[in-house]
Amino acid sequence: MEGVKKEIIQNLREKIMLMEGFKGNIMEVDRSSFGLEEMAPAFPRGIFPTGTVHEFISPTAACATASNGFISGLLSGMVKNGMFCLWVSTGRSLFPPALKAFGLDPHQVIFIDVSFDKDVLWVMEQGLKCDALVAVVAELGEVSFAESQRLQLAVEKSRVTGFLHRRRPRRRQALACAARWRVKPVASKVPDGMPGVGHPVWEVELEKIRNGKPGKWRMGWRGGAFVFLPRVQDIPATPKKEHYA
């Protein structure tokens, strides 16, 4: 009896997911390729959702850099040899050679530098419609709900993954994206008594995820892979307003 119930619930869940735009398992990447096993319980079906749009919010330049680092790490798991991804932005300061440290060959990224947010969105939509691309990253300021819906509709057809990175957004409104992330840098760790700056460490917060459970992790990038540090809950938080350059 119990088993039958479980199966029915499982089937219903699958149906709901299909309705919500999580189509088939065709394009899904092996979960180990992202190195996000520890996050798996937060994701629908335990797999990082590709073929949707992820939203990143960065209030400061330091947070924007950390978010881009996290996105580059994710991209390196998706971009195989000879494939391309698109990086659309206004006022880009991303330095391509640094992507190599995140396992992403910089020549496989096509940068589109435009002047206005609306051009970024237009290019992103065109890119998301092109199924020959792996992913499209867009860095911009403002985006409206209707515009994010258009992006979501585009990816549902093509299964391209979109990363919508909002830097210093003036308004905070919900978007039609599958997930919302906030990444901020935290102090790196070096063995006691040793000088220098350690590997990148971030506090990654999954604020919202469709069909998943939001969560917060402390993680970093070391030796070409994501590494997880002790859970945030174990570390005393410092609720203080922050300012960065």
């Binding site: 400061t60 330049a61 330091a62 924007a64 850099t65 950390a66 881009n68 680092g69 996290f70 580059s72 000879g82 494939m83 391309f84 300061s93 991303l94 330095f95 391509p96 050679p97 640094a98 992507l99 190599k100 440290a101 060959d105 910089p106 020549h107 990224v109 096509i110 940068f111 589109i112 530098d113 435009v114 051009d119 237009w122 290019v123 065109q126 890119g127 092109c130 199924d131 020959a132 691309l133 901020k184 840098p185 935290v186 102090a187 790196s188 070096v190 000088p195 220098g196 700056v197 350690g198 990148p200 460490v201 971030w202 990038w221 922050e242 300012h243 960065y244 350059a245």
Partner: protein, 497 residues
């Protein structure tokens, strides 16, 4: 296909153009004058002046004596030639090859054009009427050769058409001047009593050559079609060009789209057969009022896919102003390259490349080609010079991307000056302030010294430090120059993730 030519003669071109510009002169006797051999001579006369017997070549003083109220203006032959050229360009709507026949004619190669206007008769009438509407007196004729068309236009019946192969019978009744001969040859003919071409057209060549030289034989041969005659088109014909004349002027965007689709299909068919693709495309719309509207596209790799090219053009169709209507569409491909052959690979990597190239073309059509960048590594340590922009999608790095040195994920395009506090020279800073805010640094490593490449640019070395502030944000700072040579300047250059 037999070639057909049309000669359009504008006998009153110079005066017609002045009357068009100055309507108050209409109906009054008007002549243009220029000085020749120390005399002022009439070089052009309008119809009412000619009615009084004032023809070009008359001395101006005599003309004034005949008609004291004569309007006299200075002649400007350069301007007239310019006008003739612009008229020849306007004639491109009737035929792709138009050339100027100095001083007052236009010659069109109309092979295969006339049927679009419903036959040569209506084609000829249409062109003559269009010139008449524009205020020009014209005489035009159609024949198999330039020479015969010229002869008929200048000396034959109004709007003459010589049927194919009928040159000699048409020429027989015309005077020798219809053969475009030198005045000395004409004078000799008059002396010998030749007043019609028919009188000598059958004579043996050797006799004609002895009396009148090779020029007569050449001109006769050109008129009869035995000798070739080259036209010098005002606009060189492009090898990749498609034309679409419209019976009714087109005024709507959907009409333009249909015309474009038709033209693209024809051109792409031809290109794909030859294994070539378009890199630059221009769509021209010839408007009824003489204006030419055009839109232009560029592709990042040679393409002969009509759907893709149509999408590129479609982004700009709304910039075409049809006004009263467009009567001819011309699609040109000034730059054509070998198209990459679709490779039948197991993994359709090529196809994907093409898709991405098409996507980039679409983006370039909207935001400009300059917005698209792809980077390749360069063997320079100086951060600003360590990458170069790739020119095509197929370009791969010649050297590996460097991994030995950590580089910031965000690099400011211009380093921003900061003020720092340093305990000892050559030590990393304790804190720095940037834009009025102070950052206390907790960790630091460095310096990594990068020397200026003196063979490229003179300047000071940079000592880079990787630092982390109390809150965990990581920065890339550098000091420009050594201590001891004045106060060195510090800069913020990037952010680490």
């Amino acid at each position: 296909m037999p070639r057909r030519y049309m000669c359009i003669w504008l006998p009153l071109l110079a005066t017609d153009s002045i009357e068009k510009r100055r309507p108050e002169l209409c109906g009054r006797p008007l002549v243009l004058s220029a000085s020749q051999h120390g005399r002022t001579v009439v070089t052009a006369a309008n119809r009412s002046a000619r009615d009084e017997g004032i023809i070009p070549g008359k001395v101006l003083a005599d003309a004034k004596a005949i008609l004291p109220e004569l309007e006299v203006l200075p002649d400007d032959p350069g301007k007239t030639i310019q006008l003739l050229e612009s008229l020849a360009i306007w004639c491109l709507r009737f035929s792709p090859i138009a050339s100027v026949d100095v001083p007052d004619g236009i010659i069109l190669d109309i092979s295969g054009c006339a049927h679009l206007w419903g036959g040569e008769r209506s084609y000829l009438d249409h062109i003559v009427n269009r010139f008449a509407q524009g205020g020009y007196v014209v005489r035009a004729a159609i024949a198999d050769t330039v020479g015969t068309a010229w002869a008929l236009a200048h000396f034959g019946a109004q709007r003459g058409i010589a049927e194919s192969g009928q040159q000699s019978s048409m020429l027989e009744v015309l005077p020798p001047a219809a053969l475009r001969l030198e005045p000395s040859a004409l004078a000799r003919m008059e002396k010998l009593g030749f007043c019609r071409i028919g009188q000598f057209i059958q004579m043996p060549k050797s006799i004609l050559r002895r009396r009148f030289g090779d020029a007569l034989l050449l001109r006769l041969g050109q008129a009869l079609g035995h000798e070739p005659e080259e036209l010098k088109p005002v606009v060189p014909e492009l090898p990749y060009q498609e034309r679409l004349p419209c019976l009714e002027p087109i005024r709507t965007p959907s009409g333009i789209e249909m015309a474009l689709q038709l033209l693209l299909e024809n051109l792409c068919n031809r290109l794909s057969k030859e294994g070539r693709g378009m890199r630059i495309g221009i769509l021209k719309g010839y408007r009824v009022d003489g204006n030419v509207q055009q839109i232009r596209i560029g592709t990042s790799r040679a393409s002969h896919n009509p759907h893709h090219l149509f999408r590129l053009f479609a982004l700009n169709i709304q910039t075409i102003e049809p006004a009263l209507g467009i009567e001819l569409f011309v699609l040109e491909a000034p730059l054509v390259e070998e198209a990459p052959k679709p490779q039948e690979a197991l993994w359709e990597i090529r196809g994907e490349r093409t898709k991405i190239a098409e996507l980039l073309d679409t983006i370039a059509g909207k935001v400009g080609m300059g917005a698209i960048h792809r980077y390749l590594p360069q063997q320079h340590h100086w951060p600003e010079r360590s990458v170069s922009v790739a020119t095509s999608l197929d370009e791969v790095p010649k050297v590996d991307w460097p991994t030995d040195k950590l580089r910031p994920l965000h690099l400011l395009s211009r380093p921003e000056p900061i003020s720092v506090m340093v305990v000892l020279p050559d030590y990393p800073p304790m804190l720095f302030s940037h834009k009025g805010r102070t950052y206390k640094l907790a960790k630091a490593e460095g310096p990594e010294r990068i020397e200026q490449e003196w063979w490229i640019e003179e300047g000071q070395l940079r000592d880079y430090y990787r630092v982390e502030d109390e809150k965990g944000a990581r920065y890339w700072l550098f000091r420009s120059g050594h201590y001891g040579e004045g106060e060195p300047q510090w800069f913020l250059h990037g952010f680490f993730p």
